[in-house]
């Protein structure tokens, strides 16, 4: 898998997902793509991926993921050495 050994990258976790990270707002994950980063997150924090990514590997409608400040459209997004990943839970209604 491309860049599997890359990282670790700093990953920002939004508050709705911190029940999976023992309250941590920032964790580290390795991988050269967003898919690999999420797999690494899932290995460390079981269950977290499905809350963000559906069974068709689509990013859920009110989850935004930024890689180095740019929104990632899908899980193929590359994550270069030093890139930070920011997960945002956005605008889900009242």
């Amino acid at each position: 898998m491309t860049g599997e050994a890359a990282g670790p990258h700093r990953v920002h976790i939004p508050s709705p997902l911190r029940s999976y990270t023992a309250g941590r707002a920032e964790v580290e994950a390795s991988g050269g793509t967003l898919a690999a980063i999420l797999a690494d997150l899932e290995a460390a924090f079981a269950g977290i991926r499905f809350r963000m990514i559906d069974e068709q590997d689509r990013i859920r409608p009110h989850i935004l993921i930024f890689v180095a400040g740019r929104p990632a459209r899908d899980l193929r997004a590359r994550v270069e050495p030093g890139d930070e990943v920011q997960i945002v839970a956005a605008l889900s209604g009242g």
């Binding site: 491309t2 029940s19 797999a39 859920r60 009110h62 459209r73 997004a77 590359r78």
Partner: protein, 465 residues
């Protein structure tokens, strides 16, 4: 994962139950119903006192709301309820259900506006919860070569220019496969299958757990049925909450004999545990369809099967209230016998736990633009004691005017007491209860979030938190 926010409290000594008072429900019944009631009374006498004394059970109300779940614990008289919660504060909790096979396991379906749907289970009546390891999910659908998303990243970077736009339904990739949006309905499995649970989803899907809700698998005979998405009505209607699979009903005589309601889609039956399904909608109106005689495409709001007479089904439908006696296959519109000014449109339908002739509905205004509120702003429950031939209004204690209640399909329930206790929750966050089979109503709790579901269950008093 969220933990229960409730704290254990010292239990008060159980009070003795007051002598049961014969209800009006016990008058004017046919011979068959009297036989049923007599049998029920014998069973009640043979068991320990239901709501008081040593070894007693207490009624608990399991309340799912738009912003979390609550557990209400009734006193011996079911007049006062201790409020326990919130659980999953802020989460959309569609359903919370007790396992009647052990009376201590709870399952709860939850999601948030941001996060995908999951199922939690508790084996200690909600003191602690654990999330499913593998929640209900449809099979991954392969996408076209060159458009693969997910675990096989291509060399093509897929980083969009900064736009700030949220992802659309296909935002993460090119797959058109279905994804579970909500675990709408939970049903404990047949008594012979202790760890089995069923879940109906949005969009239409049926899933089963063999391990008490820890892992879930799709029912291919349903989810991959050749009719597939065409179970939705022509034109691909769906409700404002999506295409809802609900009313997962299991014949207590046969674990493989089940019914499932699809809104929109109709009622379907399987006799082989979910491998094959046949529609069961004859006689049900579908006046929103170009061809109202179609075999499926109907809109059952809620379907109930009587536990003591599993050949009897009742249905609250978008187009009326119905009864079906198997092996017949044609529904009778018993709602025709309700007052014309009230109509027979509603979402929940609740059955008497022992008398198959008795059912309750909560009529709503289904005229003009479908306000879905109590007709005329005067909330009332309607009861039949003769299988739908006649109905009586039950509004004692309810607002006499300016009461614009909406009660969702899962938000009304009966307990197993004698007399039966009834409960309903409104979208404005009120819970009302009746300890006398609907004759009089009292507010139990107000100021909750929008109530999506109420399940009434009985647990051993000694096991309560």
């Amino acid at each position: 994962m969220p933990k229960s926010r409730g704290k254990s409290k010292q239990r008060k000594p159980a009070r003795q139950r007051a002598a049961p008072v014969p209800s009006s429900a016990q008058r004017g019944l046919g011979r068959a119903a009297k036989v049923v009631r007599a049998a029920a009374a014998r069973a009640a006498r043979a068991s320990t006192s239901l709501f008081g004394g040593e070894g007693s059970r207490r009624v608990v109300l399991l309340v799912g709301t738009r912003k979390g779940a609550w557990i209400l614990v009734g006193d011996a008289e079911r007049r006062r309820f201790r409020v326990e919660g919130p659980h999953f504060l802020g989460c959309i909790v569609n359903h919370v259900v007790l396992d009647p096979r052990d009376r201590r396991t709870l399952l709860a379906s939850a999601k948030t506006g941001h996060l995908g749907p999951t199922v939690y289970h508790s084996t200690d009546l909600g003191r602690t919860w654990a999330e499913a390891v593998r929640p209900p999910a449809f099979p991954k659908v392969a996408v076209a070569a060159g458009a693969t998303a997910g675990d096989s990243p291509s060399e093509t970077a897929a980083v969009e220019p900064a736009s700030g736009a949220a992802n659309g339904p296909d935002g993460g990739g090119a797959s058109k496969g279905r994804a579970v949006d909500a675990n709408f309905w939970l049903t404990p499995g047949h008594i012979s299958q202790p760890e089995v649970w069923w879940a109906g989803t949005v969009p239409h899907g049926l899933f089963r757990s063999h391990d008490g809700g820890v892992t879930w698998d799709g029912i291919d005979g349903f989810n991959r049925n050749p009719a597939g998405v065409s179970w939705d009505a022509p034109g691909f209607f769906s409700t404002p909450d999506g295409a809802i699979t609900h009313s997962v009903l299991i014949d207590p005589r046969d674990a493989d004999h089940m019914y499932v309601g699809l809104s929109i889609g109709g009622l379907f039956e399987t006799r082989d545990g979910g491998v094959h399904w046949t529609p069961l909608n004859r006689g049900v109106a579908a006046d929103f369809l170009p061809d109202p005689t179609v075999p499926y495409g109907h809109d059952p709001h809620c379907v109930a099967l009587h536990p003591k007479n599993p050949d009897r089904l009742y249905q609250a439908n978008h187009c009326g209230t119905y009864r079906l006696d198997r092996p017949g296959d044609t529904w009778e519109r018993i709602g025709r016998n309700m007052p014309k000014e009230i109509g027979d449109i509603g979402f929940p339908i609740v059955l008497h736990p022992r008398d198959p002739d008795t059912a309750w509905v909560f009529p709503m205004d289904g005229t003009t633009v479908w306000p879905r509120t109590s007709p005329g702003g005067r909330p009332a429950v309607y009861r039949t004691r003769d299988a739908g031939a006649t109905w009586e209004r039950q509004d004692g204690g309810l607002p006499k005017g300016q009461g614009w209640f909406t009660v969702k399909r899962q938000a009304m329930a009966a307990d197993a007491g004698d007399p039966v206790g009834l409960y309903f929750g409104t979208t404005s966050g009120e819970i009302w209860g009746s300890a006398d089979e609907g004759r009089t109503w009292r507010p139990i709790l107000a100021h909750l979030p929008q109530i999506l579901s109420i399940a009434a269950a009985e647990v051993p008093a000694a096991a309560l938190p």
